[in-house]
Symmetry: none
Subunit: 121 residues, 2 copies
DNA sequence: TTTAATGCAAATACTTTGCAGGAAA
DNA sequence: TTTCCTGCAAAGTATTTGCATTAAA
C-alpha cells in the first residue's frame, strides 16, 4: 500500500460512492494533493486487483470506482442512469457450480450482471 | 432502415448473442459483405436508439450489442483451450428477474458466463 | 437535382506503457 | 546501492466526426 493508494482511498471515502479516475484526480488536486493522473490509474488498478475497490463502466464506457462493500456480490445496473445496487448471488453461485460440475469443469469462476431501467428513470 | 442497418441486423441474428462492433465488422467482411467500420458503428447507434438492439459494456469498456428481446443461452468456457458448452439457464433467468423485481427495475436483461478448466485440459 | 448514405482519415476521450529521475530502504 | 514509486509524454484502443464521394429518389 503506497502513498498514491492511500490518497485514492481517502478521496473515495470522501466521495462515498462512484467516481471516475479523472474525477478522483481532479478532487485530489483541488484538495491540495500533488498526484499525477497516471498514479491515480495505477492505484485504482491495484486496488481493484486487491478487491478493495469495485470497478464498473458507465454507458459511455468510462470506468467508475467505489470502495467495495461486501465480499463477492453482483450488480444490478440501470441502463439509463448507471446507478447500481449490489445484489445477493447465492442462487447464481449454486447454478454456476452445478453447471460446471455437470460438465466436469474444474477451477470454476463466473461473471454476471443484471441490467434494466431503475424505478427513478 | 438503410443497407448498413440490415447487414448489421442479419449478422446479429447469425451471432445469436452479444458481439462488439469490431467483431460484427470482421464477421461481415469475412462473409463477403463490403462495409466500413464507421457504418457498423452508425448502424448500431441508430438501432440502439430505435430500441432494436441492446447495448452493454464489457469490463474492459468495449461496447457489446445484441438484438433486443432475443432468447439466449449461456456458455461454459474453458480458460485453457477456449472450448465452450451451451448450458441451461432457467435458474439464472429466474434469479435475474427476481433480483430486478425486488429493486423495481424494468426491461430486465442479464449477462452471464461461467468459466473453468474443462475435463480434457 | 436534391437528399441521404458511405467510408476514409483525422479527431477525441479514456486508459496504459516506456522511461528517466527521485525517494526510500 | 538496489528497489520501488512517480509522472510526463507517447502509445494504444474504442468510438465519433469532418468531409468529399457516391448512390438513391
Amino acid at each position: 500500500m503506497n502513498k498514491s493508494e492511500i490518497k485514492v482511498i481517502s478521496v473515495l471515502e470522501r466521495v462515498g460512492g462512484f467516481a471516475s479516475a479523472q474525477q478522483l484526480h481532479q478532487l485530489l488536486l483541488r484538495s491540495g494533493e500533488s498526484i499525477g493522473l497516471t498514479s491515480v490509474y495505477r492505484a485504482l488498478q491495484s486496488l481493484v486487483d486487491d478487491k478493495i475497490v469495485d470497478q464498473l463502466r458507465k454507458e459511455d464506457g468510462e470506468a467508475i470506482y467505489r470502495l467495495c462493500g461486501e465480499a463477492h456480490h453482483h450488480h444490478l445496473v440501470c441502463k439509463s442512469c448507471g446507478s447500481t445496487v449490489e445484489i445477493e448471488g447465492s442462487a447464481l453461485e449454486k447454478w454456476a457450480k452445478a453447471m460446471a460440475e455437470e460438465h466436469g469443469y474444474r477451477e470454476v469462476g463466473h461473471l454476471a450482471e443484471v441490467f434494466g431501467i431503475c424505478p427513478s428513470c
